[in-house]
Structure formats: C-alpha cells, structure tokens
Symmetry: C2
Subunit: 195 residues, 2 copies
C-alpha cells in the first residue's frame, strides 16, 4: 500500500501517462496504435515503453514540502506516434499513451561517490491514456503493482482533479517536459489558467 | 571553462556516448547509420538524440565525494540500431553512438515543492562513438559547448583512461544502465576486472 501511495503521488506530481507493448524500432518500426486490454477492460502491463520517446526524469519530486518518499527517480515516456503529433501541433492525439516509471535511486556503486544513479528496481508504473472512444472524459489513469493487468484508477482519485487543475496541456504536465514546453508555448496550446 | 569541466567530469562519471542527427520514428524510420563530420574531421552537433533510445538519468553524479557541480541531471541516449544489437548480443556494434546530455535541475515550479525536475537549459553535451574505421582505438569522445562542430577530445584526457579502467562493457558504463546491465550479465560480456 505504501508503494501504491508513493507511485500514485509521484505520478500526480509529474505527469499524464499511458502505454503500449511494442518496440520503437526494427523491421516493423511503428508501435501498435492502441493499448492492450483484457476482455474485462483491464489494461495489460506495457512491456516495451523504454523504447518509446523519453520526455523527462525527476528526482524525489513532490508537491508537498513535508512528503518523504525516499530516493526515487521518475522517468516519463510517450508513444512515438503521439510524440510526433505533439511536435507538429502542440496537442495530444487520440491514442496518446504516457508512462511514468518510478525507479529506485542508488548512490554508492562502481566509481560513483555522490549524487544518485538509477537502480534495477522499478517501484511503480503508471499510465495516462487518451482514448475518447473508451473513456467518457477522454483520458484515464492506470497503475500497475505487478505483472497483472490493472483496473482503471477511479475518477474520484486526486490524480484526475490535480491534472485537471494544474496540468499545462490537455491534463498533462507539459510544464515538466523541457523539450515539449517550448512547442506548446509556440503553438499556444497551454491552458491559460495553468499554474 | 567551468562548464567544460563540469560536463567532462559528469560524462566520465556516467558513460560512454556518441551521436547522429535524425529522428527515431516517422516514414523514414531508421536513423542514419553514421555520425556527421565536417571535412576537417569535426563532429557536427547531433540534433535529434532525444528521439533515440533512453538508457538512464543520474542526479548530481560524481566520482569524487568532495566534488560539487551544482544540481544537474544527466540523461543518456543511444542510437536505436546499436541498442537493438546490444539487446540481442550484449555487445556494441560499429557505429554505436552514445550521448550524455547534462541538463539543469530545478526545484520550485508549478506544483512541485521538493525534489528536482529538469529545466530548459542544456549545460553540456558529449558523445562517445565507436567507429573502428575512423578511430585507431575504436572509440572516441567529443564534447559540444555550442552549436559549433566539435574536435575529438584528445586521448590524453582522463575520459579515456577512466572508461578503460572502470566501464563494464567495451569502455561503456553499462553498470549504470539498468535495463542493459542484466543483458550484459546474461550474455557474459562484462569485463571481468570491471569495478
């Protein structure tokens, strides 16, 4: 439960996220255009998101000065098709999939003596997906605690209200994505009341 | 000069790196197979490395306990072709290109109250390239301080000796790349004396 809380809070602090299960390179270079769900509507855990487009990483990010989650990195990825549309328009298309991976931070190892590097342990994985045919409000969050498929996070959770109130573009925290922010600024797609 | 020192030290602390200038997606899905050089042998600054495969990020990494570089993230990318070969074999092919981007770390902004996120400013960019036809020892480092083409870092610099002495696979710091380390371990490609 602690892990769940950690990952959920970290996700709200950073992003909007969602996921596919396919590689971003190779003979069949284009990843599948849709996330995969079970017959019951559970999302299958994305497998190859590390081969998507990288957006940013944070270190111990929190929206509460008093919150202490231990040392973790968060890495954010987006599916290449959605990234290409955003670069061209400053907007997220349908089937946008953002993923936040929460990964353990280590300090001492090999030649590293101070600061932090990323460890082997993935302690959280969350998805923010835009699919207007599947979700009434367009976007939905999913959180994975194991290899098992995940239920959609209920709309009553603070992820939704936090992203709606504070995220720069279409409920996503583009203000934390350094290469996308100037594109949204240029295209004029930032929510005016975003702060 | 301070910026140069900062970036150089950070690169030695983290990686092996090199670069192309092409996108990792789109109709022409495969990035160019070679880096671009001027007639004089200077490397042109890679432009689209953020669309390559992400390997890891560090935060204030240093191989000296007393070293203080200020707060920076380092993000490491590799060209997709080399990544695919590494995943299959645990080894880097010719034309491997690793890039380390040193980016400013910010703390207060939007809803973030503690920890750090990545800012707009790229304060260092370095490349580690494997090109056995071009370089006598196979690999070479380049450092960019502006948009201008860069000279190869001389072999007398400590980057080379540090990578040779401590890097896990073929002079690259795979021990800091959490998704590649288990591949190298499985394939048995880690230098035995690596530490």
């Amino acid at each position: 439960m602690k892990q769940k809380t950690t990952a959920l809070l970290a996700a709200c602090a950073v992003l909007g996220a969602a996921g596919f299960g396919t590689a971003a390179f190779g003979d069949d270079a284009k990843p599948a255009a849709t996330l995969q769900y079970s017959r019951e509507g559970l999302m299958l855990r994305p497998e190859h998101y590390r081969e998507w487009i990288y957006l940013t990483s944070g270190f111990d990010m929190s929206y509460s000065p008093a919150m202490s989650l231990g040392h973790v990195f968060d890495n954010v990825f987006v599916n290449p098709q959605a990234y290409a549309v955003f670069v061209a328009t400053g907007r997220w298309p349908d089937d946008t999939a953002l993923i936040i991976e929460i990964r353990s931070a280590e300090s001492k190892g090999s030649i590293n003596k101070s600061g932090n590097f990323q460890g082997a342990k993935v302690v959280g994985l969350e998805v923010h997906v835009k699919d207007t045919a599947r979700f009434a409000d367009g976007w939905a969050f999913f959180e994975f605690e194991s290899a098992a498929p995940a239920k959609m996070i209920p709309r009553s959770e603070e992820c939704y209200s936090c992203h709606a109130a504070h995220a720069a573009v279409d409920t996503t925290f583009v203000q934390f994505y350094p290469t996308l922010l100037p594109i949204a600024q240029k295209m004029g797609t930032i929510v005016p009341e975003c702060k």
